[in-house]
């Protein structure tokens, strides 16, 4: 398996733990407010952005290696 895919899967497993337990439990309080959002809410938004960045990274890596139909070029 490509190294970029392994790295991506590791980040997504980390995301899964971060948005459930124990990650979210550690950042579950209402305070402090981050940009006006409670910490518990900002934490989830942060991980959605991390997930998006990880997928974008994987896509760019795959696009570099593959053709239009996803076959190795």
């Amino acid at each position: 398996m490509r190294r970029s895919r392994l790295l991506f899967i590791a980040v997504m497993l980390l995301t899964a733990l971060a948005i459930t337990w124990p990650g979210h439990a550690l950042f579950s309080s209402a305070k402090p407010l981050i940009f006006g959002f409670p910490l518990s809410f900002a934490w989830i938004i942060f991980w959605v952005i991390i997930g998006f960045a990880a997928m974008l990274g994987l896509y760019l890596s795959d696009s570099h290696d593959d053709d239009l139909n996803g076959e190795p070029s």
């Binding site: 995301t15 209402a30 940009f35 989830i44 959605v48 997928m55 593959d66």
Partner: protein, 488 residues
């Protein structure tokens, strides 16, 4: 002009544009089953992005999302959380399904599974399961549409008429246009819905409290800090447990990418690159749920005690002194949420019922099959409408149960692409064993050893049976297996 008339004109214009965007783009598509179900595999990034996004964000998100934030606080974050991991499998499954579809003509999820596991029975059972799950799902969308129009018009539009007119439009464009009608109307509805959600999600905290931060501070000062602490509150107002929150996120994430109507959009993509990019961009659609929750939070202090909680959005709209045009636009936004899911479900339910059910039992020409799918659109639409307006059953309970059932499809999809040793007996045992356990704990929750989602128990049994029975039975034909495992 009277307020009610202005609202009706705005809603009428919205419905007209939805109809046109649903009909016109499909004129370029062939009159074949492939054209009707998979849009001749020609969907571009713009449309596919909105199809994936809008078909999931339904009446439940637009009305239920604010309702959850209003009544259960941080528990509502799970609606945002599961999507970010739930979409990931589609990045890997989608291109494989697309390549196999292009090469062998597949247009549904069950066709792939039935071929890999050499089982017509599996195809027919999945068709029945899908239709059984989709009808209550569609009914809920109709209820949402009828409800919004009824509340906003202050009873002027009866529930049955609101749901009827809205879904007559959906029936027309789905009947004539198939997936391309669904696609382009979803693009319009999705854009419309996102704009409305962001406008309202920013406007309400600013108008009622002077900003998002002051709004959350007001909630804390009112003594409801516990609402903002994860994992929020349970339905009865007591603190929710991490077991329940975590398992709700897990089971929703597992089931997310394998919902049959969602999965089968893989076939409609123009190419693999388009498929992958629309999946990658999906989390941007998740951020649309942030303002949706802000709408609910804005009402916690300003509008206490509203029952049922799901009615909080129309209640806020009618309580503020907003211009009629603005109310009409938000009303249309709620209809967009309902229609963008309803059309996709209707189209998929009809396609699956015929393609994976009837076609497997009897030989049909392409023309007859397409006609039967179109007729099924009408029949399924009518059945769901009857449930919505005539028959009083607990649809929500039925729908909640279906999430645990749909998640059971995930292991067999994974095994189809990645595990050569999976056999027909293992797949059937895992799928139906998982569904049976999930239904058992749904009906008898007191039997659960831990307070986690019944679908998780189903998944555990599913995996044990899939692996155990597969290893205990003769391997499937390696040539057939190779076709699927080498599709990556």
């Amino acid at each position: 002009m009277e307020t009610g008339t202005i609202i009706l004109i705005v809603v009428g214009l919205y419905l007209l544009i939805s109809l046109l965007t649903g009909i016109i783009p499909s004129l370029r598509i062939t009159k074949s089953v492939g054209g009707y179900v998979a849009g001749d595999r020609s969907m571009n990034l713009f449309v596919l992005y909105f199809v994936l996004g809008a078909s999931i964000f339904s009446s439940f998100a637009f009305l239920g999302g604010p309702g959850w934030a209003y009544s259960r606080g941080a528990a509502a974050f799970y609606i945002i959380a599961y999507g970010v991991i739930g979409i990931v499998p589609l990045y890997f499954f989608g291109p494989r399904a697309w390549r196999l579809g292009k090469k062998y003509g597949y247009v549904t999820q069950a066709e792939l599974l039935a071929d890999r596991f050499d089982s017509t029975f599996l195809s027919v059972m999945l068709a029945i399961l899908s239709v059984v799950v989709f009808i209550p799902y569609l009914t809920l969308q109709m209820v949402g549409a009828g409800y919004v129009l009824n509340v906003i018009s202050e009873g002027l539009i009866p529930f049955w008429a609101g749901a009827g007119v809205t879904y007559l439009i959906v029936l027309i464009y789905v009947y004539f246009s198939g997936v391309m009608g669904v696609g382009w109307s979803n693009a319009f509805q999705g854009l419309f819905m996102m704009v409305m959600a962001w406008v309202l999600g920013i406007y309400l905290p600013n108008t009622l409290y002077g900003g998002i931060g002051p709004m959350f501070e007001a909630i804390m000062e009112s003594g409801r800090t516990v609402m903002l602490e994860a994992p929020g509150l349970a339905a009865d107002g007591s603190p929710w447990s991490w077991w329940e929150y975590g398992s709700a996120v897990l089971i929703s994430a597992v089931g997310f990418s394998v919902w049959p109507h969602f999965f089968m959009r893989s076939y409609a993509a123009k190419n693999v690159k388009t498929m992958r990019l629309s999946v990658v961009l999906y989390p941007t659609f998740l951020l649309f749920l942030v303002p949706i929750l802000l709408i609910g939070f804005s009402a916690v202090v300003a509008f206490p005690g509203v029952q049922p909680a799901d009615s909080i959005l129309p209640t806020i709209l009618m309580s503020l002194d907003l211009p009629a045009v603005v109310i009409g636009l938000f009303c249309a936004g709620a209809l967009a949420a309902s229609m963008s899911s309803g059309d996709a479900i209707l189209h998929s339910a009809a396609s699956i019922a015929i393609r994976d059910g009837v076609s497997q039992l009897t030989s049909l020409t392409d023309k007859t099959e397409r006609l039967l799918i179109q007729l099924s659109v009408l029949v399924i639409g009518l059945i769901a409408y009857l449930f919505a307006v005539v028959i009083d059953v607990s649809i929500v309970a039925l729908l909640l149960g279906s999430y645990g059932g749909v998640a059971q499809i995930f292991p067999v999809i994974y095994a189809m692409f990645y595990w050569r040793r999976a056999t027909k007996a293992g797949a059937l045992a895992g799928l139906f064993g998982g569904i049976a356990v999930s239904v058992l704990f749904l009906v008898m929750p007191e039997l659960k050893p831990l307070p986690i989602h019944e679908g998780v128990y189903g998944l555990a049994v599913n995996l044990i049976l899939l692996i155990g029975v597969s290893l205990a039975t003769t391997p499937d034909d390696p040539k057939r297996v190779e076709k699927f495992t080498s599709s990556g």
